[in-house]
């Protein structure tokens, strides 16, 4: 677990009363604040509302109620300005099979209106970091899941976003690819960026995150550093897994 960001850090994401119903409430008046320069992990059981929350934050879903502010920008009133400084990476890497990684990154840079020279330099840097150099000019159609995820991650980083939101980015990756992705994300946080990530792999949250939020039934039932969460459950020196299961059980009882 890394040291928490200074308390006076600017707010990267502020969510208030966020609500979304499908057949039942998926997200139920959720309040969430993430400070700049933090690695924030959102954990919770299946169907807790993690992905729905993040999809609303990045503009993929329209909330029924509530507010979303990214770096102080009202994401519902001015979505384009909010999107300009945000990146989204879903659990299923969505890239174009018929484009090469290099072409894909140029396309992303165009969408985000990034200067070509700066974007190209950044793209070459990312391709190097992610070990994609030998495949930079091959079409993505034959890529493995890990390679596709790396291309998608490079796309998320090429416009140098202040806030990166990732939904289960390590699913299906081999150990080497997972390590690369984790290093790149930690590097972003070290450079002052903010990372919000959902994960089912509690060890990842435990090792990488500055703060952890636990969601159950569409509500944030606990939040803090691992030590704070342990204190909340009264179970000192236990693993995040034990702490998480206790918190979720308590949350379900309260609901």
């Amino acid at each position: 677990m890394h040291a928490p960001a200074p308390v006076k850090a600017p707010v990267a994401l502020a969510v208030h009363g966020l609500t979304k119903r499908f057949d039942r409430p998926a997200v139920d008046a959720l309040d969430l604040t993430v400070y700049g320069g933090q690695f924030y992990a959102l954990v919770g059981p299946n169907g807790a509302g993690k992905t729905t929350t993040l999809r609303m934050v990045v503009g993929l879903l329209r909330p029924d109620a509530g507010s979303i502010a990214i770096e102080g920008i009202d994401a519902l009133a001015d979505p384009e300005a909010a999107k300009q400084i945000t990146a989204w990476l879903s659990d299923e890497p969505m890239i174009y099979d018929k484009l090469t990684p290099f072409e894909y990154l140029e396309f992303v840079a165009g969408l985000w209106r990034i200067d070509a020279k700066a974007a190209e330099a950044r793209a070459r840097e990312l391709i190097g970091w992610l070990g994609l150099e030998p495949h930079a000019h091959e079409r993505c159609e034959g890529f493995s899941r890990g390679m596709r995820q790396k291309v998608a991650l490079a796309g998320a980083l090429v416009h140098d976003p202040k806030l990166i939101i990732l939904d289960e980015p390590l699913t299906g990756l081999d150990a080497g690819s997972a390590r690369t992705v984790k290093n790149v994300l930690r590097g972003r946080v070290a450079a002052g960026g903010t990372v919000i990530m959902t994960t089912h792999i509690l060890e990842v949250a435990e090792r990488m995150a500055d703060r952890i939020g636990v969601i159950a039934s569409g509500r944030l039932i606990a939040e803090g550093t691992l030590d704070e969460l342990r204190r909340q459950t009264g179970m000192a020196a236990t693993s995040l897994e034990d702490t998480f299961l206790t918190l979720v059980a308590e949350g379900n009882e309260a609901a």
């Binding site: 384009e80 090469t100 079409r139």
Partner: protein
């Protein structure tokens, strides 16, 4: 019940899969639609019988001892139908090669791969035969009702044609595999299939234009030159035509020979089929040449980046390339007619304009689906800092831009000789393309580009509306080129189709 792993057991398995696939295709995966689909098929069958009656009833009196003209006409029709069957069979064989599906299971099972692939080839042949028989059924039924049961022998000939088409498709595709390898075969096979499907029709039309100045493909078959050079009526060359007319000896020979050819093809190729399919399934990463776009980034607005992306993806789509090529091939006869017309200065370009407009509408419909509904990275586009309306506009511009690229040269040639006709043609192309694009916008869904082949299943209304809209604008353009106010009537129908589609589209009701 047959023993596991025997040929009949495997055939039963393939039949079950084939049936479920067909039901899913027809009902779009919703079993509750089955009854409605059944009724629609009966209505469609009845309509096709009426159409067949109008088209072929007058030929029902043709006898077994037919003259050369009848035999030439009948054989020409059979060859034309066979070329289309071959095109379809090639597509089926190519699809079977490149779909990995259960390949791992098959090749790791203790059952002989030759046995399994023999059955699989048999399934492809059964599919081709079934399609051939179903398409020919209305015509054969009408002829049998009007001219007697002897016409039913045509069913045997049609089934034989399906078998030979599959055998030829297997030989061609496997030949391509050996010649150019797994990587290139997919693209080349699709293009070859498209060209074969179109070539015979187009060849006859061009011959007809030169011989009689009309687009009718039968004019060439009945030309004096053709009749003079045709073999004697007792030649074995006419056996398929004699078999259709009810000659039982010819029928037995044609059917036996056809299925013997299919059996031979299966025996020859089933051993290597698995090996080729495995090679095809592992094909993926084609190395791209270092084109300028891939060497350096260029400053682009989001709209331009979107247009460029659409064009790149469309150009790199082998299925679309083959379909576009086929559309362009179909434009060849009108282009030749244009040349012949202006060379002779007879001014009959009114025939040309609706063909071009119709083709533009149909091509635009496919491009619009790929561009608007077939988005492989929807999250990326929605999470980008660009308004949805601008995204949509850029995609529409990409479609219209490609249509202009394909049809611009024809309009330009026309403009040199007949400026008014060129203006009408350009307006017709633009309107038909815009209408087809609008229909795709009304019915837009979220789908992978690879689902393009099944796009008709998701909305049959959109598919039919697209076709009728193109016909309406083609008719409008033809009448406008003829400078008659009757052009208003199909134009109003075209507008009505759009309004109707808009009213019932899912977007209007949501």
């Amino acid at each position: 019940m047959s023993q596991p792993a025997t040929l009949t057991w495997l055939a039963g398995h393939e039949l079950k899969l084939g049936w479920r696939d067909w039901v899913s295709l027809m009902t779009a995966g919703r079993r509750r639609r089955a009854r409605r689909v059944g009724i629609a098929l009966i209505v469609f069958g009845a309509f096709m019988h009426l159409f067949a009656y109008w088209l072929v009833a007058r030929y029902a009196d043709a006898t077994v001892s037919a003259d050369t003209a009848t035999l030439v006409g009948l054989t020409g029709t059979l060859v034309l139908s066979w070329s289309l069957l071959l095109s379809q069979a090639m597509e089926s064989v190519t699809r079977a090669f490149y779909a990995r599906s259960d390949l791992d299971l098959i090749l790791t099972s203790p059952v002989s791969a030759r046995k399994i692939f023999s059955v699989r080839m048999g399934r492809i042949a059964a599919g081709a035969v079934l399609v051939a028989v179903l398409l020919a059924a209305p015509f054969i039924d009408v002829l049998a009702m009007r001219g007697g049961a002897r016409w039913l022998s045509a069913y045997g000939v049609v089934a034989g044609m399906g078998a030979v088409a599959t055998a030829a498709a297997l030989a061609l595709t496997i030949g391509l595999f050996r010649l150019v390898g797994a990587k290139r075969t997919r693209l080349i096979a699709q293009i070859v299939a498209a060209v074969i499907g179109a070539a015979f029709v187009i060849g006859l039309q061009i011959a007809a234009i030169f011989s009689s100045g009309s687009l009718s493909r039968f004019a060439a078959l009945q030309s004096p030159w053709m009749l003079a050079h045709a073999p004697n009526t007792h030649s074995a060359f006419w056996w398929p035509a004699h078999a259709v007319l009810g000659d039982w000896h010819a029928l037995v020979a044609v059917v036996a020979a056809s299925f013997a050819v299919l059996g031979l093809a299966i025996a020859l190729f089933s051993g290597r089929f698995g090996e080729h399919a495995l090679a095809a399934a592992s094909v993926g990463s084609a190395v791209v040449r270092h084109c300028r776009w891939s060497l350096h980034f260029r400053n682009r607005s989001p709209a331009r980046a979107l247009r460029q992306k659409e064009w790149t993806l469309l150009i790199r789509d082998p299925w679309l390339v083959s379909q576009t090529l086929m559309q362009i091939l179909y434009l060849l006869p009108p282009a030749v007619l244009l040349w012949v017309t202006f060379r002779d200065a007879t001014g009959s370009y009114v025939i040309l304009i609706p063909v071009v407009v119709m083709a533009a509408g149909q091509l635009a419909g496919g491009l619009a689906w790929l561009s608007i509904s077939g988005e492989d990275a929807p999250d990326l586009i929605v999470s980008a800092p660009i308004a949805p309306s601008r995204v949509l506009r850029a995609k529409i511009e990409a479609v219209i831009g490609l249509i202009a690229l394909v049809f611009g040269p024809i309009v330009a040639v026309l403009a040199c000789e007949a400026p008014f006709a060129a203006v009408v043609c350009a307006l017709g192309i633009f309107t038909a393309a815009a209408a087809a694009t609008l229909i795709q916008i009304f019915f837009r869904t979220q789908a992978k580009r690879s689902q393009f082949r099944r796009r008709q299943v998701s909305s049959r209304i959109a598919t039919f509306a697209e076709a009728f809209s193109s016909i309406a604008w083609a008719a409008t353009s033809a009448l406008a080129a003829a400078q008659t106010w009757y052009a208003v009537v199909p134009a109003l129908i075209g507008i009505g189709i759009l309004a109707g589609v808009r009213a019932i589209s899912p977007r209007a009701s949501s």
